[in-house]
């Protein structure tokens, strides 16, 4: 398929592919089994100038957009989505500063992320606020020059590893969703600690931890946007980041399919390579077609966002939903082509199968994506009737 990438985008793909082949693929099994955070690989990604792809040049970035970013995420994900989510969560953590920060906040926080010398994370979810983000119970109370944060965020990607956190907390509980605000919280702030690292089914190279706030003193200057804008910040951030999750899906599916096709040419049963059996061929045909369809939707969405279209919630939800469902289907079929060998740790599809599941859960479950898409479609229909 000709995707009309610019020369620079081709370079991004080439570089990311090199990093994936030379650094991620050889290490992924060990990172997974021993649950090692990929600090070294992230450092190499930063040295290759890929941390700041979506950050403006004025703040030390490359000055690209979502398209440039997802090309890198897709390639890394072909190797390991535990690594790629650790990379991508930086964008989720810092985009609120990029989109809603003051000039001072941008100057202060963006350059270090663009250079990859610091990591970022985004803290929205709590024990009682998952899909229903409106149930956030963490509070932020203004006292003098500080907001005092109390509460616990749960399952935060890059938690403990990151230096800069965007955190959603209630400044006015009585107002419900309109009473939430977004804050930049730095690691090391008094009263800010971390829970233990979660033991997970997949993406085990990534770090998922609780963020614990106990009378945590956050300077007033770290409020993002205005009081009450917390949910707008969170929702805009998720709309903007979902293509990144779709890219994880496309990349993972691509890696699983490539492994399965290669294996099917080598494995001989009944005197023939198993790729000669139509049952396997049809699996391959379906995988190849659906991956390409997911990629088309993803690239079109990324370009829609980069074109400056204002409302892209629906497109962003669609590409996340479709690409991550495809990833799960492909991981499943790829493992099936491997047969019993696929169930063993020595082949990469076992890990891909475990890893794929998270894609249907985080950044909004796929049920929630369907809600968003359906509501948008119904709203549009109602508008036409008027």
């Amino acid at each position: 398929m000709e995707y009309f990438l610019t020369d620079e985008q081709k370079m991004i793909v080439e570089l990311s592919r090199k990093i994936t082949d030379e650094l991620i693929i050889p290490e992924r099994a060990r990172l997974d089994q021993e649950e090692i955070f990929p600090t070294e690989i992230l450092k190499k990604i930063a040295e290759a100038d890929l941390y700041g792809l979506y950050i403006p040049e004025a703040y030390g970035g490359f000055g690209g957009g979502v398209m440039d970013f997802i090309l890198a995420v897709e390639e890394f994900s072909r190797g390991c989505i535990g690594v790629s989510v650790s990379f991508a969560a930086n964008a989720l953590g810092i985009y609120p500063v990029l989109a809603f920060g003051t000039e001072e906040q941008k100057q202060k926080y963006l350059p270090a992320i663009a250079a990859g010398t610091k990591q970022a994370a985004f803290g929205l979810t709590e024990a009682n606020a998952g899909s229903d983000a409106g149930g956030v119970q963490t509070t932020a109370e203004l006292k003098g020059d500080y907001y005092i944060l109390n509460g616990t965020k749960q399952w935060i990607t890059n938690g403990g590893e990151a230096d800069t956190y965007t955190v959603i907390a209630m400044t006015d509980k009585a107002k419900g969703a309109r009473g939430a605000s977004a804050f930049i919280v730095e690691k090391g702030t008094e009263g800010f600690t971390f829970g233990k690292k979660e033991d997970k089914l997949g993406i085990r190279a990534s770090a998922t931890r609780e963020l614990v706030f106990q009378d945590c003193k956050v300077p007033k200057a770290n409020l993002l946007g205005k009081e009450g804008m917390g949910f707008i910040v969170a929702m805009k951030n998720l709309d903007h980041s979902r293509p990144g999750i779709a890219a994880q899906g496309v990349g993972l599916a691509q890696g699983a399919m490539e492994a399965a096709i290669k294996y099917s040419r080598e494995r001989v049963q009944f005197g023939k390579p198993i790729s000669a059996f139509q049952a396997n061929q049809h699996k391959i045909a379906n995988m190849a077609t659906e991956i390409e369809a997911a990629r088309c939707l993803l690239y079109a969405t990324a370009r829609t966002i980069d074109a400056g279209i204002k409302d892209f919630s629906m497109e962003s939800a669609m590409c996340k939903l479709y690409a991550t469902d495809v990833a799960n289907k492909v991981a499943n079929e790829a493992l099936q082509i491997f047969g019993g060998y696929g169930y063993m740790r020595e082949y990469p599809v076992e890990k891909m199968f475990r890893d794929a599941k998270i894609l249907q859960i985080y950044e909004g479950t796929n049920e929630i994506q369907r809600n968003v898409i359906a509501l948008d479609a119904i709203k549009k229909s109602a508008k036409q009737d008027k």
Binding site: M11, L15, K18, A48, D49, L50
Partner: protein, 261 residues
């Protein structure tokens, strides 16, 4: 510090296939890469630049398509690149190659150090580094693993079969660099963008002022009498630790592993 690195473009040995009919190497269509050992020379050059400042200049003698290897060097951080190319250079042996390169290096700048790979993976002679140094009349240290600047020149670690030697050299010098020295860094996006638009200076025979009878086939006195594989030396391994107890433990482990005890 002004650093020159001589690099050679070679066929990617991972991608060379053998023609099943003729049992010959299929060279056509095989992608070319920077000679793997030259990557170590480039990295050493870049590390010296990181540490002491200055510039890394890469030079290759080869056909016009060798330009790509030079651009790949710029992508990892080289500053300037020279392509030495002329039909007249064709058929050069190591003597003529060294002569030609030595003139190019001298014309390209006044370098504190000229770096080479240990050997080229296609020619494999390991002669060009010392050859260039000979023609430039500067000292050469082969099999270098580490190098640092001193007041007057350099202090280097040189790998030998027994371990390593430490050498000091005054003034301008040439080193050939071993694989153990380092791993070449990855290119960066900014580097790749610079590589794409960088100007590569191209010089022919007339530009570097060669004596015609010393270049190409005419200037190549080597006659190949016989090609053979030298007897294989048995693998030697040195076990060296701060604590001799640890060395004994490792030795016993290895002997047990081979079922010798």
């Amino acid at each position: 510090m002004n650093i020159a690195v001589c690099i050679k473009q070679v066929p990617d040995s991972d991608k060379v296939t053998i023609d099943r009919e003729t049992n010959r190497l299929n060279r056509t269509g095989v992608p070319s890469v920077i000679n793997p050992f030259d990557e170590n020379a480039i990295e050493l050059g870049l590390q010296l630049k990181d540490k002491y400042g200055g510039k890394v200049t890469v030079i290759t003698m080869g056909p016009p398509q060798a330009e790509q290897a030079l651009r790949d060097c710029i992508a990892v951080g080289a500053d300037d690149a020279y392509l030495i190319t002329d039909r007249k250079f064709a058929g050069a042996d190591t003597w003529a190659t060294s002569y030609t390169l030595s003139l190019a290096v001298q014309k390209a700048g006044n370098f504190d150090v000229v770096l080479f790979g240990k050997q080229a993976i296609d020619g494999d002679t390991a002669q060009v580094g010392p050859g260039v140094a000979y023609f430039m009349d500067i000292p050469v240290i082969t099999y270098v693993k580490e190098a640092e600047k001193t007041d007057k020149g350099f202090k280097v670690k040189r790998v030998t079969e027994e371990g390593y030697q430490v050498w000091e050299v005054d003034g301008q010098a040439a080193f050939t660099v071993v694989k153990e020295a380092n791993t070449m860094r990855l290119p960066s996006l900014k580097g790749k963008m610079r590589a794409k638009s960088a100007t590569i200076t191209t010089w022919g025979a007339d530009d570097i002022g060669v004596e015609e009878e010393k270049i190409g086939l005419k200037g190549s006195p080597t006659i190949v009498r016989k090609v053979f594989s030298p007897p294989i030396k048995t693998n030697r391994e040195t076990i060296q630790n701060e604590d001799p107890k640890q060395s004994v433990k490792e030795l016993l482990g290895k002997l047990k592993e081979r079922k010798l005890i």
